[in-house]
Structure formats: C-alpha cells, structure tokens
C-alpha cells in the first residue's frame, strides 16, 4: 500500500475529529431539543459575548461547531488546499468560535466578498484562503443585522448579506496593511483588521439606531465535561505525534527556537509529527492553567482553548506563550479593580496571540506585553462594538504595535528586525 505523506495524514484525521464530534452531538440532547437549540443559535445576533451553550444547549453547540468546521473543510477540499500550520490554526479557531459567535451561514456573505475580491484583482481565490478562513471572526455582524435590531423581514436579509459581502471585499487588502502596523508580532492579525472594520461599522450603525447592550451570560454547567474533552483531545494529538514518529520530540527544538512571529508555519519548519506534539502540549498547558486558576470552561473559554491549540501549529509554543500569560495573570492579581470575570479570563487565554513578542524579545518583555494587553482588552471591546469576535486580536494589535518598536530600541538588532 502506498505510504501516506505527513500532510495527507493530517488532511484525513482533522475531518475525522469533526465527523466524530458531529456524531457525538446527536446523542448529547434529544433530537427535538437539539434542533430547537440549533435554530436558536442560527437566529441569535451572535455578537460578543454570546455563549451558544446558553442559547441552544450543549448538543446544539457541538452540532454547530462540527457543521461549521466541516463546511470549511469541504471548501478547503474543493480548493485543494494543503493542511499547513496556518490552515490548521484557522480551522481550530473556527471550531473554537463555533462555541460563541460563528455558525453555519453567518460567514458565507463575507466569504463571497473575498471571492469577489479575487475576481476584481484577477488573483486566484485559493490564494486568499487564510484571510477567508479567519474572516469568519466578523460574521456576527451578519447575524446582528439580520436578527439583532429589528430591521423588517427581507430587508434585514438584504442589508446583512450586502454588509457581509462589502466587509469580505475590503478585508484582504486591508489585512495586508494591518500586518505592517504590528510587524507580525500579533498572531491574530485578521482580528486586528476586523476590529478596525468593526469599529467603523459600529459607528455607522449607531448613527441610525442605538446599539443594544452586549450579552454576557455564560454557562459553566459543563466545565468538567469540557475539561475532560480538552485533556482527551490534547492526549489524542500527543498519541498521533508518537504513532507517526516515536522520536518526533527530537525536532521539538526547532519549534521552541522560533519566535513565532508571523508567518511561522511549524508544519513546514518541523514537520507534522512535531507540530502535533506542540499542539497537544499547548492543550495540556491550558488545562494546567485552568486547574490552578479560577477559570471555568464555558463556550467562550472552550473557544479560546481550541484557538490556542490551533495556533500550536502557527506560532505558539510553551516558551513564548508562558511569559505573556504570566503577565496577564499578574495584572489580575496585582490590580484590585480587575477580577477573574469573563473579559480578563479570555484575555489571559487569548493573550497568547502576543507570544511572538516573548519569543523575540524574551521573558520580561513578554510579561510586560501580557500585563498591558489585559488592561486594554476591555477598552477594545467598547471601541469595536462586539462584531469582531477576535477582540483580543484587536487589542493585541495595538499592544504589539507600541511595544515591538520600543523593545527593538533597547535590544541589539538582528537579522529580520524591522528597520
């Protein structure tokens, strides 16, 4: 039998994970409960912070995660896209945000906008796949315009789809410019560019109608179940890594030595086996963080966990992630007015988007970056209005843009540093 390549193996088992999740979701709740929950999810405005477990229950949420991710996997298959590190990261980010804000249809108008951009610029659609996959982070704007502010039927659909298409059309060009703002030190670059677009959209919408208060209810009812699921998934990646290559750890130094600055593809640099080892380790590290802190797993936290694991293939590893997480935790511990509420909790997890700062400049700069990030995420949310699900990516863009030139000033320049 012909031996499968590393990438082919990953290409096969990632869809298998989500097929399995789809099957599991069908047995979590009775079928009628699942369907009514799923309809509630599809018709929810979905802006930050909408925990789909609260909206539709666990079964419907898992069904949403599986179907949304599988839809993107079908698209990748049709476009013959390889399972590279960034694609893996994007898929797990989509899966993660399937717990709070992304659903089967609300990204489609944005995807169509990206497609129109490729036509307008006479570039291949598949070349824009990374922006397309990450663009689903602003999909709540489609749900919100459809179901959130009482626009009359049919008109709401037309408005929502049109706005989604326009955003998708603007995003690829803007994304490239945004990258230069923070010089690749924010792994959630698309989150930053979408935050800017979301800020403008919020301002325009507020001109016509007041924005409703942002939702904040989360469900911690399934903390233990989701914690066990995280451990199982992490161990699964470690086992896969071992089975593919029992000595994959020997290449781990290649990953650890990387700063993680965009665009660092661990699959390309260290191979699939070692990348899976890193993904599994990042998952287990997150479990440790949850066990030693007051963090309870709900929809948004589960989203953050899957995002961290996904970016284990695209820039994050323990050495560059731990300092920024410590910085964020320190901010909560040292500042009396900040508590372990949802905003700071998510910032502690998503702060890993700034891991390249620690990877490039070291432990203490990483702590400073994490500390500062935690202070500005809440401001970022009120600024961008909640349409950009990657609010921490929006905040991290500013932190990286301010700190990276500063850190460069005080450290000896080396090849690859911005001028």
């Amino acid at each position: 039998m012909k031996k499968l390549t590393q990438v082919q193996r990953t290409q096969m088992f990632v869809p298998a994970i989500f097929f399995l999740l789809l099957l599991v979701s069908l047995f979590v709740d009775p079928l009628d409960t699942l369907m009514s929950g799923y309809i509630a999810i599809l018709t929810s405005p979905s802006i930050l912070l909408t925990d789909y477990i609260v909206v539709g229950g666990l079964g419907a949420t898992l069904f949403n995660v599986a179907t949304t991710t599988l839809l993107n996997l079908i698209l990748l298959h049709r476009l013959k896209i390889k399972m590279t590190g960034p694609v893996f990261a994007a898929l797990f980010t989509i899966a993660g945000f399937g717990f709070f804000g992304k659903n089967l249809y609300n990204a489609l108008p944005i995807y169509f906008g990206v497609y129109l951009y490729s036509l307008a610029t006479k570039t291949e659609f598949r070349n824009h796949i990374l922006v397309l996959l990450f663009s689903s982070g602003i999909s709540p704007i489609v749900s919100f315009l459809m179901f959130g502010i009482g626009i009359p039927p049919i008109i709401n659909v037309v408005v929502a789809i049109t706005v989604g298409i326009v955003i998708g059309f603007v995003l690829p060009a803007f994304n490239a410019h945004a990258l230069r703002f923070h010089q690749g030190y924010n792994l959630y670059n698309t989150g930053f560019s979408m935050g800017v677009i979301s800020m403008m959209a919020t301002a325009i919408i507020q001109t016509f109608t007041p924005m409703p208060p942002l939702p904040s209810a989360v469900s911690n009812d399934y903390h233990v179940v989701l914690l066990i699921a995280t451990v199982v998934l992490s161990v699964f990646f470690l086992v896969c890594s071992y089975l593919y290559d029992p000595v994959s750890y020997k290449q781990y130094g290649v990953i650890i030595k990387k700063s993680g600055r965009l665009v660092t593809d661990f699959v390309r640099d260290a191979g699939v086996e070692t990348t899976l080892l890193n993904v599994g380790l990042m998952g287990l590290l997150t479990v440790v963080l949850i066990l030693v802190s007051p963090i309870q797993i709900n929809g948004p936290v589960m989203g953050a966990i899957l995002t961290i694991m996904g970016f284990g293939a695209f820039g994050k590893h323990p050495k560059n992630s731990i300092p920024v997480v410590l910085g964020a935790v320190l901010a909560i511990v040292l500042i009396p007015s900040i508590e372990w509420t949802m905003g700071p909790i998510l910032a502690v997890l998503f702060v890993t988007g700034l891991a390249p700062l620690a990877g490039r400049f070291g432990f203490i700069p990483g702590i400073i970056a994490g500390f500062l990030h935690l202070l500005i995420t809440s401001r970022a949310l009120s600024f961008q209005g909640g349409f950009d699900l990657y609010n921490n990516g929006f905040a991290a863009g500013f932190v990286a843009a301010v700190l990276s030139p500063l850190f460069h000033t005080f450290r000896k320049a080396k090849e690859g540093d911005p001028a």
């Binding site: 590279t84 598949r126 070349n127 922006v131 490239a176 090849e415 540093d417």
Partner: protein, 111 residues
C-alpha cells in the same frame, strides 16, 4: 511584471542584500531574467562560503506557498529570509572557476 510583482521582487532582493551584507559580502551583482512563464533573480558573487550557501539554500529553498505568500508578503523587507523563501519556487547555486551564481526561480503560475 505588474507593480505588485515588482514590489515583491524589490523586497526579496532587499532581504537578500541585507543577508549578504550581514555576512561580510560587499561585492555582488543582481539581475532579473524574465521569460514567458518564469522569472529568475540572479545573484553573482566572487565567492560564497559553504556555511552561507547552506543557510541561503535552507531559507530560500523552502518552496513557495501561495496562500502564505498572499497573507504575509507585506512583512517582506524587514523579516529576514524566512518570508522571502516562501515566495521562491526553487534555488540553484552554480559554481564556476571565477564566480558563484545563485538562481532564484519564481514561476508566474506557481508550481
């Protein structure tokens, strides 16, 4: 070549110049050869140390990935050869009695 392609070429060459200067090379010649389906950056140097050649081939011979190229090429110019290597299809180093010639090939339609 269109403006965007010219910009990419200029930035790849910029990264290569920094690479060479940082390793003590001060005399080198760049040219670009254009064919119907292929564009080649040609670097001509008097010598190229084996360790520098190895590093250059490692970083620039990583094979092109158009999705990552589209996503991250705007970082070119101050990112080292890591990203520049993602825009090159293949690298060949040719040694003659008088000089070393490096060919960096970029197909118009990626392989």
């Amino acid at each position: 070549m269109n403006h965007s392609e010219n910009l990419k070429f200029s930035k790849i060459i910029g990264e290569l110049i920094v690479f060479l200067l940082n390793r003590g090379y001060h005399t080198f010649h760049f040219s670009i050869k254009q064919e119907a389906m292929l564009e080649t950056i040609i670097i001509r140097l008097a010598t190229l140390e084996p360790k520098d050649e190895e590093e250059l081939v490692l970083k620039m011979g990583r094979h092109r990935e158009t999705e990552i190229e589209t996503y991250g090429w705007s970082l070119l110019g101050d990112s080292g050869l890591e990203i520049a290597g993602l825009l090159i299809d293949s690298i060949e180093v040719e040694k003659t009695d008088i000089d070393v010639v490096v060919h960096l090939k970029r197909w118009k339609k990626p392989l």
